[in-house]
Symmetry: C2
Amino acid sequence: MVSIKDVAREAGVAISTVSKVLNNYPNVSEETRKKVYEVVDRLGFVPNTVAAALSSKKSGRIALLVKMNLKTQAIDEINMQYISGAICKAREMQMDVITIFYSMISDMNVEEMTRYFTAQSIGGIIIYGMDKEDMVLHELIDSGNFKIVVVDAPMVNENTSEVTIDHKQAQKDVACKAIEGSDVKSILYIAGMKNGYVTDLRLEGIREFVQEESLELTVKEGDFSELKAREITFEYGKDTDAIVCASDLMAIGAMKALIEMDVFHPVCGFDGIILMGYVGKQMHTVRQDFAGISAAAVSELQRLFDGEAGQKVLLPYELVRLKYEDIIR
Amino acid sequence: MVSIKDVAREAGVAISTVSKVLNNYPNVSEETRKKVYEVVDRLGFVPNTVAAALSSKKSGRIALLVKMNLKTQAIDEINMQYISGAICKAREMQMDVITIFYSMISDMNVEEMTRYFTAQSIGGIIIYGMDKEDMVLHELIDSGNFKIVVVDAPMVNENTSEVTIDHKQAQKDVACKAIEGSDVKSILYIAGMKNGYVTDLRLEGIREFVQEESLELTVKEGDFSELKAREITFEYGKDTDAIVCASDLMAIGAMKALIEMDVFHPVCGFDGIILMGYVGKQMHTVRQDFAGISAAAVSELQRLFDGEAGQKVLLPYELVRLKYEDIIR
DNA sequence: TTGTATGCGTTATCAG
DNA sequence: CTGATAACGCATACAA
């Protein structure tokens, strides 16, 4: 294995000089910089990220904290996008990534969790799908021991950023799109999990929308469950003119129920997962670029590592309608 | 951060002794072992895996090499199962995991790839979805520089194991199940990628099956593409009595095409992905426990780390038929 | 601007 | 059976 020592010897400089060149330190002459780089790619030197992480505590080792649902496939689609988006971006930015499923550490308290991450030389964490009741995660954020980027949760402080889309506006937009052209007077809204942050935002959106449009609104808790949405639809589906769902999965559940009931109402979802293309009936939905969101989270983490303060990063979304023909390849 | 040094001091022994206890070395008295463990969990000590990896070259740091199409957002249920299965098992076995997508390193040659892994202190690799034309991966395996477990590819040597199911038998079984009760004389088989290892095995299976049952067989290359299976079905679907597909996605493509053509033939798939439940028509398929396969791969890697020779590990499969009602929750 | 020396938290090799 | 101590590869104060 070719190490920094070999490069130093070959280039006729000190190890520390090589290190400085590699880490873009200011005070290095252009000449030695060139010389070092020449040797680096002549020898095909690749810095050992593990050693770097050990040596410097503020290394770029980050953890992706994913809440995975072992049952539902569509949820996996989203997490897969999150994971791949982060991993690719992280590699681009020379950061080391480990993926952790929440269930693996959900029994820990803050101290244990802190030790767990510290023991792995992890300095930054990206949290996906955090909800209001994840007390330990809240404490972890408050502790200030790590740079953290939270996706879709309003946590911003000196070393915590949020990356998200405008859920409220998106919910309004998609509802609007879904009922346009139909004579809709009342809407059944199937909401997400009660303790979810996005649930509130989307709920706000739909409330504002029905107010502006003078529509009637019925809200039911769907818990992001396809089955629950299905049951809710069976019970209340025919009494309203349209069904707006807080997730694609629930929209699918609702739509399939409507079909079985042999009634047709506009249904719209949220997320833009591919699965929507398989349902037969096309539905409007909000397409989130999960991989892009995740990549942005990685960049944001880098910003925090660079000592800048946390902030809220708002990313775009788009309204789509997935056809089977569009999604197969 | 509490380190091994703190434990040693607190327990009144040497650092090396603590290390030996933690790594289950033989020559340690039961007494000191107890004493050390007592201090370990009193202090909540968690070993730093990064330091361990740096120090010991034969560390349990492993890489998951996943082939995924990152360009298109796809239903990547299988890879997600692979990844989560491996990560969970690895944590259980105290191994460190990093996930790498093949596209991130596909432009490297063996030397570069070797340096890349070495630089990350990676000693073991699990390769998913390798095919015959991945020359660099073949070289990587032959180099003997890493302990490697390959999923679904016949690579076994001193430090390489294979984990797989009996694809040939499974293909026979599912085809048999699919046509049982129907008067089928001819079968359209939509095969996978030409350069895939499992493609050959499954093809063998279906060939043997039609021979035993004296059926007619037409084989077309579907490349594991839903779209291609759809097109093939449009072209040849009505001339045969049943369609056997080498993957669920292709089965879905074929089934949807048949529905559009308004003809009904038995169709069966392979893999057992949840998506099958969304198609409407139920199809028989081979359910592979991807997470379990992946977990087995991790265990196998540990075996290799322990100095044992590579082997072929055969895991079970089952025949299923997914209904929408079964998959939603 | 460059080099020296020390430390990061482990593992592993020897003496004892 | 236990304890010093030298690596592992890199980062970084500090000295030159």
